[in-house]
């Protein structure tokens, strides 16, 4: 075991992990932040998406130790108390989910899309969501939710 400090959602956590521990396992098993899901073992599904230093990444494809000295943000860090983040609210409003398994990854990716493309169009959102798979929705309502959520984040909705 190695003692490391992870900065997650603005708080620093001193934890003991093995060097081989993937970030998603440190988040889920050690910090009990179970929002990031594990949907594949090939780095393709995006259910595990979190932000490292503001950029969306697949937490199943990063060692916890690689994220030391970085700022990590997970789905649990978006809402302010009882107030949903505008992107979370947009997913609820536009019915951007069915079973919900892909949703934390989708929303973390969506927040990243909005950061880089403040008013994304349909084609941009679809291209940017290439790394996030959903087995339920057929994506239409997810795309609507991302466009609406991005507008809300800009304060335009």
């Amino acid at each position: 075991m190695t003692a490391i400090t992870l900065n997650v959602n603005g708080a620093s956590h001193a934890i003991d992990v093995e060097d081989r521990t993937l970030l998603v396992h440190a988040l889920r098993d050690t910090l009990r932040l179970t929002g990031a899901h594990i949907g594949c073992d090939t780095s393709q599904c995006g259910a595990c998406t979190v932000h490292i230093d503001g950029r969306a990444v697949k937490s199943c494809t990063v060692l916890a130790a690689q994220a030391v000295d970085s700022e990590i943000r997970t789905i649990e860090g978006l809402a302010k108390g009882a107030d949903l983040h505008p992107m979370q609210a947009a997913f609820r409003e536009h019915h951007g989910l069915q079973c919900g398994f892909c949703t934390p990854g989708m929303i973390m990716m969506a927040v990243d899309i909005a950061r880089r493309h403040p008013r994304p169009d349909d084609a941009t959102v679809r291209a940017e969501l290439e790394g996030n798979l959903c087995r339920c929705t057929g994506y239409h309502n997810i795309v609507k939710a991302v466009i609406a959520g991005a507008a809300a984040m800009e304060g335009l909705a």
Binding site: R55, A56, V57
Partner: protein, 264 residues
């Protein structure tokens, strides 16, 4: 994941020492190839030496009339760099089409070329443009660096530092995408350099290669429509569940014609 050790050197010198000391040590950059490989136990190094934050491997700088890109530069940073976009827009386009946004946020150019996946995008650009690769030991021409599928001229413990590419506004990368893996089923990088046309093909299966016959055909004034797939050596292609060797060769020739049409 199996048991392994992780170390984060503070300098290139430290990194080289850590790799030299331990036969089981392997370089780690963005991890976007290595992590899936380790999880599947296709390779089992016992120690990972993290190069991602080394300042010696960072940055995009002008070099002569071209550009020099540090090995640890992410695909995202290459695709959005104003310097790359102005002198070599085709490379920015290539980087912006690798994998998906999350992969591009961590995967690096150095890791991609050191890995030399037969379906990877970057090797075709480096080969077509006649890039040079500076390592911890020496500088190599791209044609000497890529030595076959998943194989390069790198010696054990040797680290890619940077890649130097010429400016070129007559270049295009066209990727015929495998929609499941997001890799190239076939990818073509075509360029018009002062010395003539250059065409490199990735995704064939046996590693990136140049199609010199088509280059010569174009250099001697031949037409794009006369670039025929029968003249492309079938030995460069292999078949798998995604497509036969003949299918790949056909797609390659079509894609070459599209790429050449786009730059002439």
């Amino acid at each position: 994941m199996y048991e392994l050790a992780y170390v984060r050197p503070q300098s290139l010198t430290d990194a080289l020492a850590m790799l030299a000391q331990d036969d089981g040590a392997q370089a780690l950059s963005g991890g976007q190839t290595l992590m899936p490989v380790l999880r599947a136990r296709l390779a089992m190094p016992t120690r990972l030496v993290d190069l991602a934050r080394l300042h010696e491997l960072a940055g995009i700088t002008p070099a002569g009339d071209g550009i020099e890109i540090g090995a640890a530069t992410t695909h995202h940073d290459v695709s959005t760099s104003s310097a790359v976009r102005s002198v070599l827009p085709a490379l920015a386009g290539l980087a912006g089409g690798i994998g998906d946004a999350q992969i591009r946020h961590r995967g690096t150019i150095g890791g991609s070329i050191a890995n030399n996946d037969p379906a990877a995008c970057y090797p075709s650009a480096l080969l077509a443009l006649g890039a040079s690769i500076t390592t911890s030991q020496r500088t190599l021409a791209a044609q000497d660096f890529f030595t076959g599928m998943f194989s390069t001229a790198l010696e054990p413990g040797e680290i890619v530092r940077s890649i130097r590419l010429p400016a070129c506004d007559k270049a295009r990368y066209i990727k015929f995408r495998n929609p499941a893996s997001r890799f190239a089923l076939v990818g073509v990088f075509a360029a018009r350099l002062p010395g003539g046309y250059r065409i490199a093909i990735t995704g064939g299966g046996n590693g990136v290669f140049r199609w010199q016959e088509a280059e010569q055909h174009l250099d001697s004034g031949g037409s794009v429509s006369a670039i025929a797939e029968e003249r492309l050596d079938i030995g460069n292609f292999t078949g798998d569940l995604h497509g036969s060797a003949e299918y790949r060769r056909h797609i390659a020739a079509v894609t070459v014609r599209q790429a050449i049409s786009a730059i002439t």
